[in-house]
Symmetry: C2
Subunit: 420 residues, 2 copies
């Protein structure tokens, strides 16, 4: 399988991707959608080959003693492969972001100004185990008119290679440039490092994975980066909260899918409702298998509550585990969030309009929930159709990144001989 | 003047700026505008002190043998200082970008989603000689609710210190946090380097200056950067151009203000009109003192035309100097621009709708002019009121950056106990 382990020469791959990107930028939507449907059909038709390659990756991971949770993320089956294909067809159904005029004015001197969306060019994605990212990212980048360089993890190399081979064949068969989707070799760090340093050839790098991966990319990249993912999300239960609602939101935010970035990691309770709320929520969380690291008030509520440290308050557990403390007022809650939050999602439960306004204005995060679970910070839930990741930085994109965030703009100014 | 040479401890200055930024983020427009007017009045009232400090900088620069053009950029007088004050008042008149809802929908489940503009937080500006940037940048950052850390050049240190002292006093007198505007010490590179590495404390760094400064910041910064400024702008005269219009546009784009980034640096002429156009435009440029580096056709038109190299085609002259060649068709022009352009502004002169569409779609630049001078790429001309710089990168902001580009967004989602 020498032709399917991914490209090792990143610069050459990026130059080929740039040529493809110049073609993609001018394609009308119909051509891109045709490519997406061909990619989806290709995956369905190649189920045997893709699942065989995946079985090899899974066996190798198990032989290496990889944790069961990670092996599960790596594993594909008929349903997961069908979901990947369905995802590509869904991207085809989304409106084309390219060409949208985001600002259009006639200037006082008669010049017509039109600022319109255009593709970014070449996008690099550096990601960890889950092979569905391979097809998802390729589909979103193609729809927005970009070529993509995919640098997955070594543990998924055979699976990713099989998927990318299918996608490239499908593009060629649909008369689109195969170099719209390129897999980079994952057997050494060099390809990741070169991708981050390919300024001028690559327009954006998106790291998707754990905090360590993201930190490395941010530190080393000279290509512009959009940081994704770390979410130390808080739920603050205000003095004026409906406590039944608060219990339901805390439980949902913590336990609905604890491994993801929009799960809640920390609970703050106003002291005015602590007596009533803390014992109930501690019991509820315990019944659902959640370990609570809490302050004295929480510890007094149950012997199961462990002591809490600043380290716990700063931790994104990604598991059935949560830090908790009582705050003296809303400002105390805001200070806590300012100190420990990662700018992802913060939630308040309150019936008070004043408290809701102060919290939403005082918190510095991509998303703020009022009487809703933190789990709603998601491209699909936000109505973007799909997402390439959730940005926790402030530049370019903040929060769920959909197709529009995979574009830039160009401003076309038309006159009839205008001079300054 | 020990208290006016700028802060040397960048981290401490950034932490103080963050405290100020948290206050600024919640200020209503009226308070910010009051601060801007106080800053403007302060500059007018302190004319004697500011001009005296500037005279010291100018004397020192002249004693160092600084080029007259650079000394001129450094020099302030009554008119220039009044223009700085007027600029601040004009920023006060601009609408507040903060709070604008850029997307607002009710989701299918009834959640109300409002994505609204909020300040970035703390912005670092690293800039060269011109002291007007000090007041301009401070005003724009304040209006968008941000605190600013200013790292100017050593040659303007006394002037910048005098200006910042005035601005901080004005803010304090207006009951606004003085740490909204902080000058960093310019006597060593360390403050610039620390500013670029203050990730987590500083939200954006904008370098304003020459290509060398910008490259250094892009290479070394871990804080997100918006690159500004380098403009190797082309004017392409198409086969279907009105040649009188083409002559006027070339002349304006090259000579109206040759030192700035939106001046034209290169002329491409379709071979179908070369015989008619080249001799005329060469004579016109010569009459206006422009040195042309041209291909054989241009050289044949006048003995004054110098030979042209790829280096010339790649050069941003910022002077009365221009590279020029004949292209065989529009694709040849697009290839030339793709090879040598810096993604700032490209212009086509044509009467053909087909050519205009192909050029505007085929060029990868922040702005594309059709039958208009490249000189129009400017925040003021584009109707943004003012600009902090012209971004030549694709992420976050592309082209002239106004107040909106000094903000990010946060999405507030309101429900009544919504769970997933």
């Amino acid at each position: 399988m020498s032709d399917t382990v991914g490209r090792t020469d990143v610069a050459a791959a990026a130059r080929a991707a740039r040529v493809a990107a110049r073609l993609l930028a001018r394609l009308p939507r119909a051509d891109k959608d045709r490519g997406l449907h061909a990619m989806a059909q290709g995956l369905l038709d190649a189920e045997t080959e893709v699942l065989a390659a995946n079985a090899d990756d899974v066996s190798a991971a198990e032989a290496d003693g990889t944790a069961a949770q990670l092996v599960d993320r790596l594993r594909l089956d008929h349903d997961r492969l069908s979901a990947m294909a369905a995802g590509l067809r869904k991207v085809a159904d989304l409106p084309d972001p390219v060409g949208e005029v985001v600002r259009g004015v006639t200037l006082p001197n008669g010049l017509e100004l039109r600022q319109r969306r255009v593709p970014l060019g070449v996008i690099g994605i550096i990601y960890e185990a889950r092979p569905n990212v391979t097809a998802d990212a390729a589909g979103l980048c193609l729809k927005a008119g970009n070529a993509v360089l995919l640098r997955g993890s070594g543990s998924a190399a055979r699976t990713n290679a099989a998927i990318v081979a299918v996608l490239r064949d499908a593009l060629s068969a649909a008369d689109l440039p195969a170099d719209a989707v390129t897999l980079l070799d994952a057997s050494s760090r060099a390809t990741a490092t070169e991708l981050m340093r390919a300024r001028g050839l690559v327009d954006l790098v998106v790291p998707r994975g754990g905090a360590g991966l993201i930190r490395t990319v941010v530190e080393q990249s000279t290509v512009p980066v959009v940081e994704t993912g770390v979410g130390n999300c808080h739920v603050y239960v205000d003095a004026d909260a409906d406590l039944d609602m608060a219990r339901a939101i805390v439980l949902n935010a913590k336990t609905h899918r604890p491994s993801v970035c929009n799960a809640a990691e920390s609970l703050l309770v106003h002291e005015a409702v602590a007596d009533k709320f803390v014992p109930d929520v501690v019991a509820l969380l315990r019944d659902h298998g959640v370990t609570v690291h809490g302050d004295e008030v929480f510890q007094a509520a149950s012997a199961d509550v462990l002591p809490v440290s600043d380290d716990d308050h700063a931790t994104e557990f990604c598991a059935l585990e949560m830090s908790a403390r009582v705050v003296i007022d809303l400002d105390d809650a805001l200070d806590h969030v300012a100190r420990f939050g990662t700018g992802h999602t913060e939630a308040i439960v309150t019936g008070s309009l004043v408290a809701a306004r102060r919290f939403t204005e005082g918190v510095d995060a991509a998303a703020v929930m009022v009487n809703a679970s933190t789990r709603f910070t998601d491209g699909e839930e936000f109505g973007l159709g799909a997402e390439i990741g959730i940005s926790t930085q402030k530049l370019h994109a903040r929060g769920p990144m959909g197709l529009a965030e995979l574009t830039t703009t160009t401003t076309v100014v038309t006159g009839d001989g205008h001079l300054r």
